[in-house]
């Protein structure tokens, strides 16, 4: 064994000292022969005989040297090196071809590498610095078939009794206000369990993480760990920061630690800027949920499974625990289960909504790569035809077909390796590109990084190898057909109408047309869906209604002060020129914040077994429906009289009226909200609450005064543009209290657009790649048609000599090209009918077989192929019959 290794090392080092060793060999053999000759002369031979005899008994100097060289170095590597250098020279000789091929491959492999890096960085290993992410799973509650959050006591019970879990930690996204001048900014933070930093294996670079017990007690531990980014930007990298205080949501927090650089928390899509222990929950959700309340469902948790435990096993154990809790606490846990999710399906961050996009993207970039391969393969074919002579000569002087094949594959490898290098560079540049497609929300850190690690490199390498094989095989098919006998026969001319030798190239073009047709159909479907979503009536006015809010909570307002301020401000706002209506609401529709949710009861409504009727509601001020333009069906709006002293009232939407009062008029009836009975005073039309593509859901409204919130959103309906109304509002706010600031102001249309950004991303990416595919396919078609025309000048000349006009010739060539396109489209239609179902959930009110989408893809691709065929066809008409026949 040691000897083999030693031999290998010696042989390997010999590769690098070849010249020196070659000289040594010459010298040694020369001295051998000279000694032999000398001996023979001494034996009495003539000089010539002595030399002859010495050479004879030596037995072939050159052959010996060859054997010696084979023994000395590594012949396989040496031939590979030879092939490589030869391939390099060949490619350099035709720079146009090489550049085009490399560009195509860079695009193809780059698109793959970029998408893989996004999948890796966003879905598979989304949390930099967090240890053992492959064993992390997300926990979310379910009630019946619907998803809900889990409660803190439930999670503590799971943590205590789960034997398959190594650790369980909670990390909920939250926000806190930081004011900068007259504009306030919400920064993203996380409410975490005390074991958070230990559980994920991230240790603060300054100070400490949370200590056990810091997550219990009501508002008992106002401590905060800040992100490196926040430390650098807001605290200017102050090394003495530990122990200093900072107000977060009007509670003074002691800064106990700074998270290390490159740690962005555990929320796909956002960079987390600070972490507070769960004991501070009420300071961050304005008292809506209490920590010890088993019915308060707010927590989002992750579990790291013990090594070797599958998700299924964990699910079974955790469901068993949930069932036990259900039996133990029927009042809060009836019908509730806890579900285990893979990290990339995490329902409570952006992973879940990005997953379908990435599934499609992987398919799309594979298509693009296939098209690229077909294209470069076609280019190689042209070249292999041009190189027939070279190949034939090499075969004739004794190169094996295997050796030729190796040469071709080496050239393919050279091309695809350069393409892969360029592709990884492209992926590196694009690793943060996804962020560009997502709207910035009020200056928040959107964090969607691609991650180029060894796994991505390995997959890209594999893609590159597969590409090489595909590329090498295409010309190899051609080469293996070379017969020596026909070597020097001049190539007989091709025929436009006939298939013959061009069938490989033609089928490659058909493949490209097929694939790009599918991509175009997909892109069109998504575009239609996006247009439908964005133009769907959300049930409220969007263009002329603005939304923002004032930093009352952060400025330390209590409820009485806030009430006075809100009253004064709304009066001033209504008096502003151009303002038609204005109102407050705790939550803006289609925003990130959740509406309040409550178990409800209605007289005469008997819930089914296991049904716990719940509904969501919004706390709104008088004039809310007029401001948003939500039509009232019956009853009245809230008025100033519906305050904390008046009887409690509610307004329900149509769906709620239909479900719980079975179409009877609910006005005057009772509804139980959070244990209190309130009277229904009005019915309004349904609108969209969370998503544009949601189905109508039961929903109701209560007066803000009766369910007060210190920092509601203010909605303003006005004819003024955004800048004007924003300046005016800031002026009015400052006039009341100069310490206050305004959050970001946007129109409700912008709110709609932001809520549909997922679809926008899908459309942008698929359209981008679809366009790229179309371009590549057109180039491919153009190439094949030009080739066919150039090969059949003699036939074309003959036809023209016999009386064919320019239009006949043009028709002939065009019809050949369009035949290829049509074949591609026919296959494409069949394939697209099967594949567009993959778009499933992303399509909104558009059938995956929408004839309009198929039709427009057809038109686009037909036009593109017409353009691609026109130039070669025109060139065909310029053939000079006399010259074509003479040549």
């Amino acid at each position: 064994m040691r000897e083999l290794l030693r031999t290998f090392v010696k042989r390997l080092t010999a590769l690098f000292r070849r010249r020196r060793l070659e000289d040594d060999l010459d010298e040694e053999l020369r001295s051998h022969l000279e000694m032999a000759i000398e001996l023979n002369v001494r034996k009495g031979m003539s000089a010539a005989d002595a030399r002859q005899e010495a050479l004879r008994s030596f037995g072939g100097v050159e052959r010996t040297k060859e054997m010696y060289r084979d023994q000395r170095g590594l012949p396989m590597i040496e031939t590979a090196w030879q092939d490589l250098r030869f391939g390099f020279r060949t490619l350099r000789r035709s720079p146009g071809f090489t550049l085009l091929a490399m560009l195509c491959l860079t695009l193809g492999i780059g698109a793959n590498a970029a998408v893989f890096s996004w999948v890796e960085g966003i879905l598979l290993r989304p949390y930099p610095l967090v240890s053992h992410q492959e064993r992390l799973v997300a926990l979310a509650g379910t009630v019946g078939a619907e998803r809900d959050e889990t409660s803190w006591p439930d999670l503590l019970d799971v943590q205590r009794s789960c034997t398959l879990c190594e650790t369980l930690f909670v990390s909920n996204i939250t926000g806190a206000t930081l004011s900068i001048g007259e504009r306030a900014q919400v920064i993203t933070g996380s409410i975490a369990s005390a074991n958070y930093f230990d559980a994920i294996g991230v240790h603060p670079m300054l100070g400490r993480g949370f200590e056990p017990g810091e997550d219990s007690g009501r508002n008992a531990h106002p401590v905060v760990v800040i992100s490196y980014h926040l430390w650098q930007t807001r605290f200017k990298g102050d090394r003495e920061i530990i122990g200093k205080t900072q107000r977060f949501n009007n509670v003074v927090h002691t800064i106990i630690g700074v998270a290390p650089e490159g740690f962005y928390g555990t929320f796909v899509g956002r960079g987390i800027e600070f972490w507070v222990p769960a004991s501070m929950l009420e300071a961050f959700n304005a008292g809506y949920a209490k920590l010890e309340d088993r019915g308060a469902r707010w927590a989002e948790a992750y579990v790291r499974l013990k090594p070797g435990v599958t998700r299924n096993q964990a699910q079974q154990e955790i469901s068993a625990i949930a069932a036990r809790l259900e039996a133990e606490y029927p009042a809060t846990n009836r019908g509730r289960d806890i579900k285990v999710w893979a990290l990339w399906q995490t329902p409570f961050n952006h992973a879940g909504e990005l997953l379908p996009i990435f599934e499609i993207m992987v398919v799309v970039v594979m298509f693009v790569l296939l098209i690229v391969c077909a294209n470069v393969g076609n280019l190689l074919l042209v070249r292999s035809f041009a190189r027939r002579h070279e190949m034939t000569v090499r075969l004739a002087v004794g190169a094996g077909r295997g050796r030729l094949l190796r040469q071709l594959v080496t050239e393919g490898l050279l091309l695809s390796a350069c393409g892969a290098a360029g592709g990884i560079l492209v992926a590196y540049w694009c690793r943060h590109a996804l962020v560009l497609l997502f709207p910035v929300r009020g200056g928040n850190v959107v964090y969607l990084p691609g991650e180029i690690d060894w796994r991505v490199l390995a997959v890209s390498g594999a893609v590159c190898l597969i590409t090489t094989l595909l590329l090498g095989l295409i010309p190899a098919m051609q080469t293996s057909k070379i017969d020596l006998a026909g070597a020097l026969k001049s190539d007989s001319a091709g025929v436009v109408g006939g298939g013959g030798r061009t069938w490989v190239r033609s089928s490659l073009v058909v493949l490209q047309v097929t694939l790009s047709f599918i991509l175009l159909v997909g892109a069109t479907l998504l575009m239609q869906s996006l247009r439908k979503i964005r133009t769907t009536n959300p049930g409220f006015s969007t263009t002329r209604v603005f939304d923002t809010s004032v930093t009352l909570a952060a400025a330390g307002y209590d409820a009485p002060r806030a009430k006075t301020f809100q009253d004064e401000l709304i009066q001033r706002v209504r008096a502003l020129p151009g303002v038609e209506a204005a109102a407050y609401a705790r939550v803006v529709p289609l925003g990130y914040d959740s509406f309040s949710s409550t178990p409800i009861a209605v007289d005469d409504y008997e819930p089914r077994a296991n049904e716990q009727p719940t509904a969501e509601y919004n706390e709104v001020s008088p004039n809310y429906f007029a401001t948003l333009g939500i039509p009232r069906i019956s009853g009245r709006e809230f008025t100033r009289a519906d305050d904390e002293n008046a009887p409690r009232v509610a307004i329900v939407n149509q769906t709620m009226a239909a479900r719980y009062w079975r179409g009877q008029n609910p006005i005057g009836e009772r509804l139980q909200v959070k244990g209190n009975w309130v009277q229904v005073v009005g019915v309004v039309k349904d609108s969209k609450y969370y998503n544009m593509d949601e189905t109508p859901r039961p929903f109701f409204y209560v007066p803000l005064r009766q369910y007060f919130d210190i920092e509601p959103d203010i909605h303003i309906r006005t004819t003024q543009p955004l800048q004007t109304i924003q300046t005016a509002l800031i002026r009015e706010v400052r006039a009341l209290d100069p310490n206050l600031a305004l959050y970001e102001m946007i129109t409700l249309q912008e709110q709609v657009n932001r809520s549909t950004s997922q679809q926008l991303v899908a459309v942008t990416l698929v359209a981008l790649f679809g366009g790229l595919a179309l371009l590549l396919a057109s180039i491919g078609l153009y190439g094949v048609m030009s080739y066919i025309v150039s090969q059949s000048t003699r036939e074309l000349g003959l036809r023209m000599a016999l009386g064919a006009g320019a239009s006949n010739v043009m028709c002939l060539v065009l019809s050949r090209g369009l035949l290829l396109t049509t074949t591609g489209i026919v296959i494409g239609v069949a394939a697209a009918l099967l594949l567009t179902r993959l778009l499933g959930n992303l399509l909104y009110q558009v059938s995956p077989r929408d004839p309009l989408a198929f039709g427009s893809a057809l038109v686009v691709i037909t036009i593109a192929s017409f353009v691609a065929c026109f130039l070669p066809a025109w060139r065909a008409t310029r053939v000079d019959p006399a010259r074509a026949l003479r040549d």
């Binding site: 001295s31 010996t64 023994q71």
Partner: protein, 111 residues
């Protein structure tokens, strides 16, 4: 009858070279070739050239070492000598050759 070169197995040539170096000490390639021919009384007619890849192979495995030197008639030549590992190898090879030939002899003699 002369033994044709194809019958000189690779392992045999190795053994002959090692044995030669063992008994004669440091030698150059031509010397080794001559010596093998003499000892085998010209029965073994090997192409002297084949010796060189064999020498390289033995050297790569670390059984012999080489050094440039000057021959008796003042010619530059590469001298080969047995290494310690080569000595051990020779003993092993010789033993296994003995066993092999004894075995073959036995087979041939039993009828």
């Amino acid at each position: 009858m002369a033994i044709s070169k194809s019958e000189v197995l690779q392992g045999t040539l190795d053994l002959l070279v090692l044995k030669t170096l063992d008994s004669m000490g440091s030698m150059h390639g031509f010397g080794i070739a001559l010596r093998i021919q003499q000892v085998s009384e010209d029965l073994l007619q090997l192409n002297q050239g084949t010796l060189y890849p064999a020498l390289l192979r033995l050297e790569q495995r670390g059984w012999i070492a080489s050094k440039w030197g000057v021959s008796e008639n003042n010619r530059k030549a590469k001298y080969y000598s047995l290494t310690r590992a080569g000595c051990r190898r020779l003993v092993e090879e010789a033993e296994s050759w003995d066993r092999m030939s004894a075995m073959i002899n036995r087979v041939l003699r039993t009828t």
